[in-house]
């Protein structure tokens, strides 16, 4: 059984590796890269929203912090975005703790509201802060050729594809490790019933901050990755409120509180939204978003526990 499962994963990874070589179409590769990025974002959210019962609707703030940190470090100091990516993750952890600590007593929807407000504040701050390019945004100088140091590849999407795949799998791996550990055990207890967990002596504030830190870090890493992929960032693209909502939707659609659910969510919803936008988006009627919304509604009615519930027995 265990062995069969491993084989299954190996096959999937091999398929993912050969996929962009077989489907050597830029748009298809772009969609796949977005799947990886959103998969990573949804999996990060899963740690807080899926397992720890902390419903954040402000993940865009951390995504933006990652994107801005690595881009600024590259533009101002010439630091490679690879290190910038980790720096962005650390800044996001700091921001997560700064917001999480005062909110550590907030319950349920109050916590959700606090995260929305936080993301809002960050958005307004960045829109008006000239050092970070304000409303105009930032675009790093383009490297003369593909460069690993500058984390820029323009002759092909393949490097982004593989980096994205790697980052997503890394996120899944780390989240899985954490959730299966003792720490994860307490996080799940927290998510199930915070008051009971507290009455058993679980240090709620501490585990909340651990959970928030993990999610913030990987969300910011995804932000840096995105910044390097598009090489132009501004508040509407990396600090958008809709992004925060999308992250929650994808995770819940796929099945939050399970390891692979958020990835399934990304695999299904991201291509749907990308193709809907490509086909109907130009009509300016919002039809793409309506189709997207309709699919989500139908699924929430028939599969309230997420797509992943097709695969697991209760």
């Amino acid at each position: 059984m265990e062995k069969g499962k491993h084989l299954y994963y190996v096959v999937l990874v091999v398929l993912a590796i050969v996929f962009p070589i077989v489907f050597n179409v830029p748009f298809v590769q772009h969609v796949a890269i977005m799947v990886f990025m959103y998969g990573m974002l949804a999996e990060s959210w899963n740690v807080i929203g899926g397992y720890s019962g902390l419903f954040s609707f402000g993940q865009a703030a951390f995504f933006g912090i990652g994107a801005y940190t690595s881009t600024l470090l590259y533009m101002q100091l010439g630091l490679t975005p690879w290190i910038g990516m980790i720096a962005g993750g650390l800044v996001a952890i700091a921001a997560g703790i700064a917001i999480g600590y005062p909110c550590s007593k907030l319950k349920g929807h109050y916590f959700a509201i606090a995260t929305i407000a936080f993301a809002w504040i960050i958005n307004i701050l960045f829109t008006n802060w000239s050092f970070v390019g304000a409303a105009t945004g930032l675009s790093p100088e383009l490297a003369p050729a593909d460069s690993w140091y500058a984390f820029q590849f323009r002759s092909s999407k393949l490097p982004y594809y593989y980096i994205g795949l790697f980052l997503m799998l890394l996120t899944v791996y780390v989240v899985n490790k954490v959730i299966k550990s003792k720490t994860g055990f307490y996080l799940r207890a927290l998510g199930e019933n915070e008051e009971v967990a507290a009455s058993l002596g679980v240090n709620i504030a501490k585990y909340r901050l651990i959970s928030i830190s993990i999610a913030s870090f990987f969300t910011a890493v995804a932000g840096s990755f995105y910044a390097q992929y598009v090489l132009y960032i501004d508040p509407p693209s990396v600090l958008a409120h809709f992004l925060s909502v999308e992250i929650v939707l994808i995770a819940m659609f796929g099945g939050s509180g399970t390891i692979w659910g958020p990835i399934w969510g990304a695999l299904i919803l991201v291509p749907l939204s990308q193709y809907a936008r490509a086909i109907w988006g130009g009509m300016g009627s919002g039809l793409d978003i309506m189709v997207y919304g309709f699919v989500i509604m139908v699924f929430s009615i028939f599969r309230p526990r997420g797509v992943v519930s097709f695969f697991i027995r209760k």
Binding site: E195, V202, A205
Partner: protein, 250 residues
Amino acid sequence: MTLLSLKLIWGMFIMLRVNGIQVGYGNMAVIRDVSFRVDKGEIVTIVGSNGAGKSTILKSIVGLVGLKKGNIEFMGEDMGKYQPHERIERGIVLVPEGGKVFGRLTIKDNLYLGSYKYRKEDKSVIEERIEEVMEIFPVLKERYHSRADTMSGGERQMLAMARGLMGNPELLMLDEPSLGLAPKIVDKIFEVIQVIHSKGVPILLVEQQIHRALEIADRGYVLQDGVIVLEGSGQELLNSELVKKAYLGM
């Protein structure tokens, strides 16, 4: 004798001392000037009807709600400076009302969560404790690997109590263990409470099943609208006019 040693001797007999506490949510005071104590080896009960503030008292003892006035001493030490997890490390354990268990986790995992304060100890120590606790609750043994939400209400209450015992309490606080259970199951629960007590664990029992609670209690307090209106031994209270009239319908 120094003040400190006096305090230590004091602490040897008195487990819990609640002094004139006021507790509320927002501006509303739910508990007003409540004082009581639990000594070593006792079963003490606080009885009162719906909304009297029983759960609020227990929550304030573990620190889930803050005090507006008064103080709480546990084994001679003021609890005011401690967070909930620090109080539990000192041996206060609350079994919340309604048999609240972690439904999506197995019985085994629920019990492990109860031993949170021993998380750094060897697994064998915890497993030994699980064995001990399951001797009191054999039903948990049969269902050890099932999810807690597959159990009946009575079984959940047993699990919640067993989980509380995993923390090796110096004081076990039970919030309405009989809530919503059939009389037969309630009998069983009360038997188990006495078994736990006979192992030397002092118990603070909060109940609406006043007759039953007073029967097994050494001492009791009657709580009405956040105020203690009567106290005495279990027998005294059972025979009191107030309890007979207002609660037992005699």
